[in-house]
Symmetry: C2
Subunit: 385 residues, 2 copies
């Protein structure tokens, strides 16, 4: 018996590691669709190795180039519609959603509609559209399994437990590369410094989100939706070694934690084989060798993005979507060295402050708000150049 899987964003960091995990039990898997944005050369390599039934390429120019040059005889889909069609293919039993940013929302919804299990590595989907996504999943009785190490840890801690006995979810945070940097030096943080994450090797966008701790803010919002807990029950704890991936405290005071080396393949494998721990031979954690684990409270003054995420949840409605869209634009601008590191939260705050909120946004309202926010954020970036 094989399980049919599609991977949205197959050439990204999570996509590639997903394929690596599938390789461990290759004969258990049927690979349906691989989707990419622009990396058609890498896609060709993956086609040769994994023989998917079809592919989707969201960038139209790259799609045309691929069509012209490939010898691939499977289905070739184009654009965001193509990615949605791949995600929503009725053969999918699992869909790994590893797209970056708001672009993950529509394909994830398409996958939910088919009843496929969602392995969700795209956190912006729940951040922007958590209400819509979780309601759709509930209607279709679809499992959403978060793939990042923190939510995988929480999921593992909650196996066999009653969710009404949760007292607190404790999300651990590495604190990023600037945890110990004095506040007054934040204004001179360079792009190169921000791209140097101490524990995890990830894409550029998420590495910057990690440096601003917006990444942790997103995870707070994600945790709220995934585990259906009020924001007051979610806490962030700085833990620079990233060994304890997160914890759950129960109402008797007992805390469960999940630990491991910082290796995304473990949570990916757990999501793919949920709820089983399939044998994997990656290096084991050796706590005696590590010697110590340290903890401290987060510094909301140095990392205003984290506070903005909590604020967005309290404001409700489309605020988290505004937070996310403004962050995407601000981070893009920082990656192009058009704005400073400390401008990122300023731009987001400005957007959250000025853009009209909607209390129960529809998907189309969210899309509009997403566009308005991007345009506002771009203007704010221009002002700062």
């Amino acid at each position: 018996m094989t399980t049919t899987i599609s991977i949205l964003g197959s050439t990204g960091s999570i996509g590639c590691q997903t394929l690596e995990i599938l390789d461990l039990t290759r004969d258990e898997w049927e690979i349906n669709f691989l989707t990419v944005n622009t990396k058609i050369a890498e896609l060709e390599q993956q086609i040769k190795k994994y023989h998917p039934r079809g592919v989707a390429i969201s960038d139209t120019k790259c799609y045309l180039e691929f069509k012209r040059t490939t010898s691939f005889t499977g289905e070739i889909l184009c654009g965001e519609e193509g990615v949605c069609a791949a995600a929503g293919d009725s053969r999918n039993v699992i869909v790994m959603s590893a797209l970056v940013g708001f672009s993950g929302v529509m394909p994830t919804l398409a996958a939910i509609e088919t009843g496929a299990t969602i392995a969700l590595a795209n956190k912006e989907t729940l951040v922007s559209a958590g209400d819509i996504i979780t309601k759709a999943a509930q209607v279709k009785n679809v499992k959403i399994l978060a793939v990042d190490s923190e939510h995988s840890a929480i999921l593992q801690c909650l196996i066999g437990e009653s969710s009404n006995e949760i007292e607190k979810i404790i999300l651990t945070a590495s604190g990023g590369p600037f945890r110990e940097l004095p506040k007054e030096e934040f204004e001179s943080i360079s792009l190169a410094q921000a791209l140097r994450h101490p524990n995890w090797s990830m894409g550029n966008k998420i590495t910057i989100d990690s440096a601003t701790m917006m990444n942790k803010g997103f995870e707070v919002i994600e945790a709220k939706w995934l585990f259906n807990v009020p924001i007051e029950k979610i806490e962030v704890l700085v833990h620079p070694q990233s060994i304890i991936h997160s914890m759950v405290q129960f109402q008797d005071g007992s805390i469960k934690a999940q630990l491991g080396t910082p290796d995304m393949r473990v949570p990916i494998g757990y999501a793919l084989h949920f709820p089983h721990h399939k044998p994997m031979q990656f290096p084991r954690l050796d706590l005696a060798a590590i010697g110590q684990l340290t903890f401290s409270p987060p510094d909301y003054e140095k990392f205003p993005c984290l506070q903005l995420a909590f604020d967005a949840v309290s404001m409700g409605g489309a605020s988290p979507a505004i937070l996310n869209a403004a962050n995407e634009i601000a981070v893009q601008a920082f990656l192009k060295e058009e704005i400073r590191f400390i401008d990122i939260p300023v731009i987001i705050h400005k957007c959250m402050d000025t853009i009209q909120n909607v209390s129960h946004p529809t998907l189309s309202e969210l899309t509009t708000i997403d566009e308005v926010t991007r345009s506002t954020a771009r203007q704010e970036c221009l002002k700062l150049r």
Copy 2:
């Protein structure tokens, strides 16, 4: 609906804390028997407060004294037979077995025979007679829930998991008061020093076992029986803060841990309400305030008792019972300041070396071996005075 419970060893440290937990949801419990060894004054207090149906007093002199002076109108049982009758009373739904030493074996078996759930705080029961106890429990489909913090941690980590996916059980150890003492100073360790445990407040016997790390050795053997894992899959990790109470590593490398303040009431509450975390308002763990957790490998040269425990399991049969009986006598002698701290493992080793082992001992063979070992150990103690 009330649950009927008996407490074996109700005036000991665990017994008293069990009553404290029952107090939190007093109307859910019917207290059947309380049993004590000699502390009849404390028993009188407990009778006044908890109104048990009956009591058992194992010391005959104390029983007679109690009979003569008490106004208690319930059933009053005498001697080890009395304790066994209390344990084996068919009304019991849960029996908290908090006796000390080998004396816990027969009452625990009597309780298993009635089909009651066993909350087991007496580790020597499984150490000495693990094979017999676990087989009896299997036949009667009885749950044995360990009450110490380490096995409660493992139990919590295994909820909802498949035991065939366990790669390793990692028992944490505080390392006791002599963790950092140089080896050459071990021969001058005084009784007062050995009774000063850094993290837990416990009875004298278990405090000394903790100082020699025999306590951890017992827990290794107990874990083998409770979770049905081979000894090769059990590892000890020194963790002085006793915050992580133990861990389970799965075959994908993922590790689950249970954490908390060092407070026996939490594992007691978990056993009594298993598998639920009932609300308890004891102080919460604050990792940010604690700041750091440290880990190191155990030093088997400074703590030969720990090695002897692993050896006893490898030797099999009655060896763990010999280990336990010899340890009880040696610790008694040390508590009376008749032998030195470093003599404890010497006496145990001597007993394990000289007493004839039996590969699959019956309960009566175990009792004989227990007696022979005690007598041998006493002679060895005399030689060392």
